[in-house]
């Protein structure tokens, strides 16, 4: 698979990254080389193989009763009202 500069721009948008016009071609060629390398996995027949998401998974995962734990904040707002101050993140798109 060859990755084009247009695809780099599309994936960058998905990843919330700005890639400068001048960087796209180089990234496309670097990513193409890496993707062509990883495509060697296609030669393995894995139809009957279950995927592994995590090794040494202990079941059940550590669970505990949910309880509020206080922690010192690092923002100025936290010192006054016990909250973290963040920029507005809703209402825009």
């Amino acid at each position: 698979m060859k990755i084009s500069a247009t695809e780099v721009a599309y994936v960058a948008q998905l990843a919330n990254l700005d890639v400068a016009d001048g960087e796209r071609e180089e990234l496309a060629s670097q990513l193409t080389r890496i993707v062509q390398y990883v495509e060697q996995l296609e030669t393995l027949d894995t139809d009957a193989v279950e995927p592994t998401a995590q090794v040494v998974a202990r079941e059940p995962h550590a669970e505990r009763e949910d309880r509020v734990q206080t922690r010192d904040g690092s923002s100025v707002a936290a010192e006054t009202v016990g909250l973290f101050r963040v920029p507005k993140v809703i209402g825009e798109r």
Binding site: N16, I34, Q40, E42
Partner: protein, 480 residues
């Protein structure tokens, strides 16, 4: 004695017997850092005032015969992706340049409770993505054996600091070899424990199903001491394993005679340095001389490990690093819209390798490619794991080279990301399978650079790994 090359075990004895004080050792550490580190650049920041204060407190405890921890007064360097509450964690990145965590990592916390004194935070490839420490946003760390060469990575600062004798022990993290490969390049011991053995709470996440914290040291015994203090269940990490721990440092002398050690043929590939091959072969003979039974075997899916690893780690990284958007952490570059703030922050804050991996991971997870790349890699991960499970039905340990080459020159691989990735060819398998692995020095190549030998054990069998490594170190006289 020469305190610069003393192990943690030797320092502990000196303190107990009153032949050295913690204050003189810690102050000696900072003198040595001032002398050597302008050239090596292993530390990003040091904490002299705090460390000297802690040293005086330790000396008072020794003087008054108060109970002290097993690591009382031991100087420790910490990779800069592990949190210490109220002190900066940069992760080698501009995006976290001014980030001050509000909590401490369990691993560092446990070592400090055992008495260790944190000297400073060490340099690393940005977000632990790299094999040379050249991807640090701040500066390049040099290999103490040859300053024209890299120390390896991503925990290159910790490896270099231990190798140069600045500190006896240090912490790193290993996602695809980031402890074992720099340990090999710098001629020190580096242990990656079983996934889940040490809590990852307070470690900046890179590849969450692969990341594991571990020690660097100049003796296997010191690595075992640190593991003794760090291991064990932690409710703050949901993948922390609730399994029994051990007194590993106290069990190193138990015999290794009769231990079955497998030599996987796929780890002796064309294109590896002849010096590496020769020293590791000699190391295997040493193990045989200790009474281990050596068996050739095959781990047939080894050649697919790098491809599998780079799909899984980049996919996990792209998801983990989505949190650095300028809203809650570190750097924020204001934009006209929310979207432009996100993008400009990430554009300014991430270096080229991090962006490359986020792009690759996003691509592998994106609609239309998920099955072909990410799911495929997870399936091959199963095959890699099964190879090991089959091997451990007949052997106790596996022995391999840690890396195919010795330390390469600064700048040698920076233009070729794939060539850099191939450095991890012998180390990523342990992470994919979650197994414990150690790199121990096994001599020097023709060009006088350290060679590392890797021992791999079954899940939670750090005891066997450490024991064989310890006997090997004693037999070969390889202590750094």
């Amino acid at each position: 004695m020469n305190l610069k090359k003393a192990t943690a075990g030797q320092l502990a004895r000196e303190y107990r017997e009153g032949t050295a004080t913690v204050s003189e050792v810690i102050s000696g550490v900072f003198e040595e850092i001032e002398r050597r580190d302008p050239e090596l650049k292993s530390f990003l920041r040091t904490r002299k005032d705090e460390a000297m204060e802690e040293a005086r407190a330790a000396d008072r405890a020794f003087a008054e015969n108060e109970p002290v921890g097993p690591l009382a007064g031991i100087p420790l360097a910490v990779k800069d992706n592990l949190h210490i509450r109220g002190e900066r964690t940069t992760c080698g990145s501009r995006i976290l340049e001014d980030y001050v965590p509000t909590y401490s990592s369990t691993a560092v916390d446990r070592l400090r409770k055992a008495g260790a004194i944190v000297i400073g935070k060490t340099n690393m490839d940005e977000f632990a993505m790299g094999s040379s420490t050249e991807n640090s946003a701040f500066f390049v760390t040099r290999n103490p054996h040859d300053i024209e060469r890299v120390p390896g990575g991503s925990s290159g600062g910790s490896a270099a600091a231990v190798s140069a004798g600045l500190v006896p022990v240090a912490l790193g993290s290993d996602t695809g070899g980031s402890i074992r490969q720099p340990a090999s390049f710098c001629g020190v011991v580096g242990l990656k424990p079983t996934y889940g053995r040490i809590s990852r709470y307070g470690l900046v996440a890179f590849g969450s199903s692969l990341d594991q914290i571990g020690p660097f040291s100049r003796s296997v015994e010191d690595a075992a001491r640190l593991l003794d203090c760090m291991a064990g269940f932690d409710p703050m990490d949901s993948t922390s394993a609730d399994v029994p721990t051990s007194n590993w440092s106290g069990e190193l002398d138990r015999p290794v005679k009769g231990m079955k050690v497998g030599v996987p043929k796929e780890y002796f590939v064309d294109g590896m340095d002849s010096g590496v091959r020769e020293k590791v072969r000699a190391g295997i003979e040493t193990l045989e001389g200790l009474g281990c039974e050596i068996r050739e075997l095959s781990l047939p899916h080894t050649p697919y490990a790098i491809a599998t690893y780079y799909l899984i780690c980049t996919a996990e990284a792209s998801s983990n690093l989505a949190r650095y958007d300028g809203v809650r952490y570190g750097l924020r570059v204001p934009g006209k819209t929310l979207q432009s703030m996100y993008r400009q922050t990430r554009m300014a804050g991430f270096g080229p390798e991090v962006k490359r991996r986020i792009l690759l991971g996003t691509y592998a997870l994106s609609a239309g490619y998920y099955d072909a790349y990410y799911l495929k890699a997870q399936k091959v991960r199963t095959l890699v794991l099964q190879d090991f499970q089959t091997a451990f039905e007949t052997v106790d340990l596996l022995v391999t080279p840690t890396t195919p080459t010795t330390a390469f020159r600064v700048g040698e691989n920076t233009d070729d990301p794939l060539a850099m990735y191939l450095n991890d060819i012998f180390t990523t398998t342990c992470n994919l399978a979650g197994l414990p692995g150690i790199s121990v020095p096994c001599g020097k190549s023709q060009d006088n650079l350290p060679v590392g030998m890797q021992l791999i054990g079954n899940h939670f069998e750090e005891g066997k790994v450490l024991r064989a490594a310890h006997h090997f170190e004693q037999a070969g006289g390889f202590r750094g």
